[in-house]
């Protein structure tokens, strides 16, 4: 099987030059930490957080995580942070927190251990070492997962192929009878608010209604919008009234105002 695995970006595994500065290839980050800033910007950006940076510092010098020479590491870490600042790289707060943690551990190690029971006090590095180890495990695991064949990268699926739909014997889905009853009752309830059915929509032309509204608004006062609607005319009548009002607004014959949402709408002749 052809497995095209994306090369992990781990710095320690990169053999190709990290960068070229004035035509000169940089294979390793110089130990003295003199880093030509522009060239190494990319390198610095590729850290996945303070733990990743710490791991890099440890690995790049073939140190054992378990030994964690705090003084040395702290010094280098701070140098990196300063460099990142200098390069104006966006620095997550987590990096600063780690710097503080390192400094704290360092200071604790410098203090003489006074313990009346003669027990050795917990090494302040223990927690950090545990975190580094834990992070390293999942970092490795993520590389393993990256290497697993993945669909559309390492292997391909077939496209579903066409078929001709053969018309099935038509079985219509049944109506939900209970829902039907509810629908009917709801309809009946609605009609309660309507006038008898002999109110014909045909008689309520929008034009006619517009004239009527203009007659009602025959003076300069604001009138409650609701006065223009007559429940007796039923739903269709209300719709015609509403359309007529909209039409009048459009023709700029009336003004419609409302102080705020839900408050009364007032209508007035222009």
């Amino acid at each position: 099987m052809v497995i095209k695995t994306e090369e992990p970006k781990d710095l320690e595994k990169i053999n190709i030059p990290l960068a070229y500065v004035k035509g000169e290839p940089y294979l390793n980050i110089p130990k003295d930490l003199y880093l030509p800033p522009d060239a190494l910007e990319v390198v610095l950006e590729s850290f996945e957080g303070p733990l990743d940076l710490l791991l890099y510092l440890i690995k790049s010098q073939n140190l054992d995580i378990l030994e964690l020479p705090i003084a040395k590491i702290t010094e280098q870490y701070i140098q990196y942070i300063d460099l990142m600042h200098e390069l104006k790289l966006e620095l997550a707060a987590e990096y600063m927190l780690m710097a503080a943690t390192l400094a704290e551990i360092k200071s604790k190690l410098l203090l003489p251990v006074i313990d009346e029971n003669g027990d050795e006090e917990d090494d302040p590095r223990a927690e950090l070492i545990r975190r580094l180890q834990e992070y390293e495990r999942y970092k490795k695991a993520s590389h393993n997962i990256e290497a697993i064949p993945r669909v559309d990268r390492d292997f391909y699926l077939i496209e579903k192929i066409q078929y001709e739909t053969v018309k099935k014997e038509e079985i219509y889905q049944q109506i939900d009878l209970e829902k039907l009853v509810i629908v009917f009752h709801k309809l009946m309830e609605q009609t309660k608010f309507l006038t008898p059915h002999d109110v014909k929509k045909e008689f309520l032309s929008v034009r006619e209604k517009m004239t009527k509204i203009l007659n009602v608004l025959d003076n300069d006062d604001y009138i409650d919008f609701k006065i223009l609607l007559d429940a007796k005319e039923g739903k269709s009548g209300l719709i015609v009234s509403f359309l007529a009002i909209l039409e009048l607004i459009k023709l700029a014959l009336i003004d419609c105002v409302q102080a705020n949402n839900n408050s009364t709408i007032f209508v007035k002749l222009k």
Partner: protein, 211 residues
């Protein structure tokens, strides 16, 4: 490159493509490999033969070759993918409800209750399904059709007579809230505890209506 390998690759390309692949595309693809058009054509023919008695077949269409389900399997594949259950529109449900409960009824009468016109499609659908039929024509100007339900409607809903249709009170022991939702109550008290299946049904119905 061996012909067998070429065949395998063409097969893989055809199965992984969402559209037909033309002879020209295949030829271009193999250009670097220096493979003659003859070999490619032969390969395609052999692939075609290979699938003669299979569930799929290689078919030449206007833009190239593609695999499709073989003719005798179409019926089975269609059966495997069930059609989406139809959803009935609110308009259809209301129209049908009025025809059931108010039959004989004309379209104008349905419209006057619903407050909107009834689309011809709805009447057509119901007639085609043979759930409703034209009982006759009203003796008024325009001679509108009078509709009623059919035996077929009863059969397809496992009913013997319309009297078996559920009564509103039977379906739901209506809670105060539900009654209010249905507009059957004018009180405004809210029964917070009603969260049973019936409420859900009504809510489902209401939601359908909202959009």
């Amino acid at each position: 490159m061996e012909k067998n390998e070429i065949k395998k690759i063409i097969e893989a390309l055809l199965f992984s493509s969402s559209s037909p692949i033309s002879l020209k595309e295949i030829r271009n693809f193999f250009e670097e490999e220096n493979i003659s058009i003859k070999i490619i054509e032969e390969s395609i023919n052999e692939i075609q033969d290979k699938y003669i008695n299979s569930g799929v077949m290689l078919k030449k269409v206007s833009t190239g070759f593609r695999f499709q389900v073989s003719e005798d399997c179409n019926e089975w594949v269609s059966k495997f993918y069930p059609e989406k259950p139809q959803k009935y529109s609110r308009a259809l449900m209301e129209t049908l409800a009025l025809i059931i409960y108010k039959q004989p009824i004309t379209r104008t009468e349905i419209e006057s209750v619903r407050g909107v016109s009834v689309s011809s499609n709805i009447i057509k659908t119901l007639l085609e399904r043979e759930w409703i039929k034209i009982l006759g024509y009203k003796d008024v100007p325009g001679k509108p059709a009078i509709f009623g339900t059919t035996k077929e409607f009863l059969n397809s809903h496992n009913l013997v007579s319309l009297s078996q249709l559920p009564k509103l009170d039977d379906i739901i022991e209506l809670t105060e809230q539900e009654k209010r939702q249905l507009g059957l109550l004018e009180t405004t008290e809210i029964d917070e505890k009603s969260t049973n299946a019936e409420t859900d049904k009504i809510e489902e119905y209401n939601q359908e209506n909202i959009h």
